[in-house]
Symmetry: C2
Subunit: 307 residues, 2 copies
């Protein structure tokens, strides 16, 4: 099975209490691809500028990621500069330069069309709708969004929500999207907007998946996966995209989409998110082994399982 991810490839300049890095490889599609590559074949659709070199591309291709869907445009790659204080859940944006990303018109290569899984990383919801409609054959669509689109693109976002099977957002976004401060009520309201399942990420407290009644075999009670109590979050950038990569990658590696598969996918999502933050940028996600992943999976199981 293979998965197509559509989203940003970017350069990030980051400052955290543990240090700083200038213009390192980042972007939602990058973090997602690397995390998902440990589970399934990944095909990426993105746009980069002339400052994106063979070195950056090799970070993805070394992990077997198919980069033929990356468009190369005149100009510079999407650039973001941010800083994290002691509260690693809150990024302070210092600079955003959309550059070539501003004119991103995602095109799915013909060779990608047999993919059964699709992940719409956080881009303009109208583009997400277009991409999703251009791949009518996919079996499962995952999607992300952000507070900006919830605020200013409600109509397009509504169309996008009708087209995703699983939406992955965080606590604040779920409350904003539903207009409800109670997380379980917020979850039900979001599920009424379209998705069959909703993953709400709680940062250092893990994530919960809520299911629409009647969807997915095996019951409809929510399921919560823990985050590992980590000593040091060196760089939280990409944690959510790495979660999504582990989550969607694991699902794509399985033959069926059941509640049991989705529960295990939640664990693999939190596992990949916990690795991502251990080092800056994609550093940790470049050189993992499947053994390390399974070892941490077992730690998470031991952390939460009674017997």
């Amino acid at each position: 099975m293979s998965i197509v991810v559509v989203g940003s490839v970017a350069f990030d300049s980051l400052k955290t209490p543990f240090g700083k890095r200038d213009k390192i490889l980042g972007g939602a599609a990058t973090h997602f691809s690397l995390a998902a590559s440990y589970f399934t074949d990944v095909r990426v659709v993105a746009i980069v500028g002339e400052d994106f070199t063979a070195e950056e591309e090799a970070v993805m291709t070394r992990r077997g990621v198919d980069t033929r869907g990356i468009q190369h445009a005149k100009g510079k790659t999407f650039f973001w500069a941010g800083e994290y204080g002691d509260n690693v859940n809150e990024a302070k944006t210092l600079d955003t330069q959309l550059n070539v990303f501003e004119k991103f018109d995602p095109q799915i290569p013909a060779d990608y069309m047999d993919s059964e899984y699709l992940f719409l990383a956080n881009i303009h919801p109208a583009l997400q709708v277009k991409v999703r409609d251009s791949m009518p054959g996919v079996k499962l669509v995952g999607g992300d969004t952000m507070n900006l689109w919830i605020n200013i693109e409600r109509e397009n976002l509504g169309e996008m929500l009708k087209r995703v099977d699983v939406l992955l957002i965080n606590d604040g976004e779920a409350k904003m999207l539903s207009g409800d401060g109670s997380l379980p009520r917020a979850a039900r309201k979001v599920l009424e907007l379209g998705p069959k399942a909703l993953v709400i990420k709680h940062g250092e407290y893990g994530a919960t998946i809520f299911f629409r009644d009647g969807e997915f075999a095996g019951g409809h009670h929510p399921f919560r996966a823990p985050a590992l109590p980590l000593d040091e979050v060196r760089d939280p950038t990409g944690a959510g995209d790495s979660f999504a990569g582990g989550f969607m990658g694991y699902i794509a590696s399985q033959g069926e989409i059941t509640r049991r598969v989705l529960k295990h996918a939640m664990f693999y999502g939190t596992v990949m998110g916990s690795f991502a933050v251990e080092r800056f940028g994609t550093e940790r996600m470049q050189g993992l082994t499947r053994e390390e992943i399974d070892e941490r999976f077992n730690m998470f199981r031991e952390l939460t399982h009674l017997d």
Copy 2:
């Protein structure tokens, strides 16, 4: 087995987004006793004033709680008025009248002396030390504290920490007590101050227990119990004390103190905390059944367990 709890019995006036109540029965020892009463024999040591009537006492005795350790003094019972906004984790104190509680000098009745378990609810740490030393025969001591004592009674608190086996505090208190913003590091630092185990409560995200290396049979990895995603937290007052009651009550009901018992106790703690907040004051905790408790226990298991 029986457990002695020493703490406040109070009247609370509460306002939450779901309504208000004037002068209803509250206090840490009250909430703890009721929750623990579903697991073991509970004996309470507290002080009340002349406004505390047979009606309030009956709330405890109907649940089999031994109230002979409640001192009756001239004056009024400890009174607290508070308000919760949309963020139910933050109480706004409107009024605090210590009244007879100010002169509380806890005395353990001779008939309580054969208890093997002791819980020191949040009172002045010097009193906690005195009580603990007056019961040298106990097998396990649990304790609570608050930010006030962390700020102004550091020395007495240090003595208290050397005398408790399990400390139960929340995220903010753990960070304040350790001076460390990273929860796992904060946990290790607190464990170095005395306790063999530390329970950190995360509000709606559950709670984690950290173990001192070498203590308790069955490993030393932390363990996290979830909180139920609840639609409506009607009144969070007493959630932490009800957690402690379920946690300590379950431990006291078991013959041994192992990691396995402590893990199950974490689940029973979160179960009782989740019931407590469903209604105002002690309303929910007065009329539970063991069947309801076990049903919710199983929901929590299903919420977090993969298989």
